[in-house]
């Protein structure tokens, strides 16, 4: 009989302890952010979609070697280039050489898994992660990014 009442009182006491803990939470500072009105800044290494990096002349650093395209597990990068002839001075003589210039760099963000293999595979530090996370749309095409276009828009 004593054990029976003991059980009831210890059980009730355990509920009181729980209630006192939840009651104390009322006086703790608020930790959440009211999202659309207040946003937090992403950390430096945040992995958004990839972005091209420009060189000093404002042109993309990318030499269109296609390493990122090959490294990508889901094949979401597609790029194209054309060769352009240019003249350089070698030992006092003018010579024409050819180099590849990036003409198209498309990213299909719908299949990207943000693994970062493209960024680590790039030997020229030509791509990086953006800080963008406010991406929402009802159309699939809105996530097909033309990164070359984005770079030019950023510069202008």
């Amino acid at each position: 009989m004593g054990a029976y009442f003991n059980d009831i009182f210890s059980g009730l006491w355990s509920l009181c302890i729980g209630l006192s803990i939840t009651f104390r939470e009322f006086f703790k500072p608020v930790v959440t952010v009211p999202y659309p009105y207040k946003t937090i800044k992403m950390c430096k290494r945040y992995r958004g979609h990839i972005e091209l990096i420009e060189n000093e002349e404002g042109k993309p650093k990318c030499i269109s070697c296609g390493m990122c395209q090959r490294a990508c597990p889901s094949g979401c990068i597609s790029l194209a280039s054309k060769s352009v002839a240019y003249e350089v001075e070698v030992k006092g003589e003018m010579k024409t050489k050819k180099k590849k210039v990036l003409t198209k760099y498309n990213l299909d963000f719908t299949t990207c898994s943000l693994c970062g293999l493209c960024v680590t595979s790039c030997n020229f530090d030509a791509i990086t992660f953006s800080q963008e996370y406010n991406l929402v749309s009802t159309r699939k095409e809105d996530f097909h990014f033309d990164l070359l276009n984005r770079l030019q828009e950023r510069n202008s």
Partner: protein, 372 residues
């Protein structure tokens, strides 16, 4: 016109739980033959989110499979990528710098705590208590923020890479992790008072959902399920990999075999993980995070390799058969929750429905990992 259907008193009926049900934490379907409130027979139906990860592992190159591994278990993803890089490093004979191994262990243990915290919240919510979930998620948020600072992602990490880790940890991470340790210890005391001592919680779990050690061996159950049944097995202690042999930690084992024992194992494991992180930060050596010489193209020699790790849910293993090319010939994933879940059919026979759901919660199932 016929009248209402008369159910005979001795008749059983089929109850279908899932594929979308909050208590199953994913798309798991359970077909239960019920006699009133009691379960006569249960059958788990799988395959709703099968994504052919094993086949993808055979069609892609080794680095390309790495993001797949963290999609298996989205709550404790770090342990799974750890297993993959360890398996490939063992096969291809890549040396790993000591600092990288320490960083790996610290991140894996942080992730283990985050995973257990989420399980704790969801488990108590299965039993009808909503408040602890909020507290658990708040604590987990600090851990995810710390991990986000170095990895750039919050759940599906791709941080470990062959030969080391993707980038070095900074002072911010070390400061945040040092702050997490005392905060978590305080929180664990809070959870003990709020949940573990709660009379309603104890009455729901004590002596309910027995899983014997025999049954664990029969189905190959590992992790907290086996340790709650008195089997002292932890891959970190029994077959030490990485730098776990340098750390001083205990493996909590309970012999009660009930749902509460499995709960207690996980709560104690969080404390042990905190100890490992503390020691790891103290011992963290200086040096590079990537080996100086690393093969550009990873082609393990012909052979059969197996690597097991202890993830948050149990023993996870990768069996890799290499034919010397850049793709694997066979890529078999041994997932812990698959084995842990398969004993549910036998264990829940003759149990009350609500007790069976409490037991299902105590198994800590993550469905994408079962249907990999």
């Amino acid at each position: 016109m016929s009248g209402p259907i008369q159910i005979q008193p001795d008749e059983t009926f089929i109850l279908n739980i899932g594929p979308q049900h909050p208590a199953t934490h994913g798309v798991l379907r359970i077909k239960m033959e019920m006699d009133g409130e009691y379960i006569v027979k249960a059958e788990t139906v799988l395959g709703y989110i099968h994504r052919m990860h094993e086949l993808m592992g055979e069609n892609r190159t080794y680095p390309q499979v790495l993001p797949n591994l963290s999609r298996l278990d989205y709550l404790g993803a770090m342990g799974y990528t750890h297993c993959h890089v360890l398996a490939i490093e063992r096969a291809a004979g890549i040396e790993v710098p000591e600092r990288a191994e320490y960083i790996r262990v610290i991140t894996v243990e942080l992730n283990r705590i985050a995973s257990h915290l989420f399980w704790f919240g969801a488990f108590v919510m299965d039993l009808g208590g909503f408040t602890p979930l909020m507290y658990a998620i708040q604590d987990r948020e600090y851990i995810l923020d710390a991990l986000e600072g170095i990895t750039g992602s919050r759940l599906t990490y791709c941080y470990h890479s062959f030969g080391g880790v993707a980038n070095d940890i900074d002072d911010d991470f070390i400061k945040a992790t040092r702050a997490i340790i005392p905060m978590m210890r305080k929180s664990l005391k809070k959870y003990e008072a709020l949940v573990t001592g709660n009379i309603i919680f104890r009455k729901r779990l004590e002596g309910i959902g027995p899983i014997s050690a025999e049954m664990c061996r029969k189905y190959g159950a590992t992790g907290a399920v086996a340790r709650g049944s008195g089997i002292d097995f932890d891959v970190r202690k029994n077959e030490p990999y990485s730098v776990y042999s340098d750390f001083d930690f205990d493996v909590p084992v309970y012999h009660e075999c009930d749902s509460l024992a499995r709960y207690m194992v996980r709560m104690d494991e969080m404390e042990q993980s905190l100890r490992i992180i503390e020691q790891g930060l103290d011992k963290l050596p200086d040096g590079p995070i990537m080996p100086a010489k690393k093969p550009k193209l990873i082609k393990p020699p012909v052979g059969d390799y197996y690597q097991a790790v202890e993830t948050a849910r149990g023993s996870f293993g990768i069996r890799l058969v290499s034919d010397g090319t850049k793709n694997a010939y066979r890529f078999k994933l041994r997932s812990p929750t698959y084995s842990n879940m398969s004993l549910f059919d036998e264990a829940c026979e003759g149990m009350l429905l609500m007790d069976a759901l409490a037991m299902l919660g105590s198994l800590d199932l993550v469905i994408p990992e079962i249907d990999r």
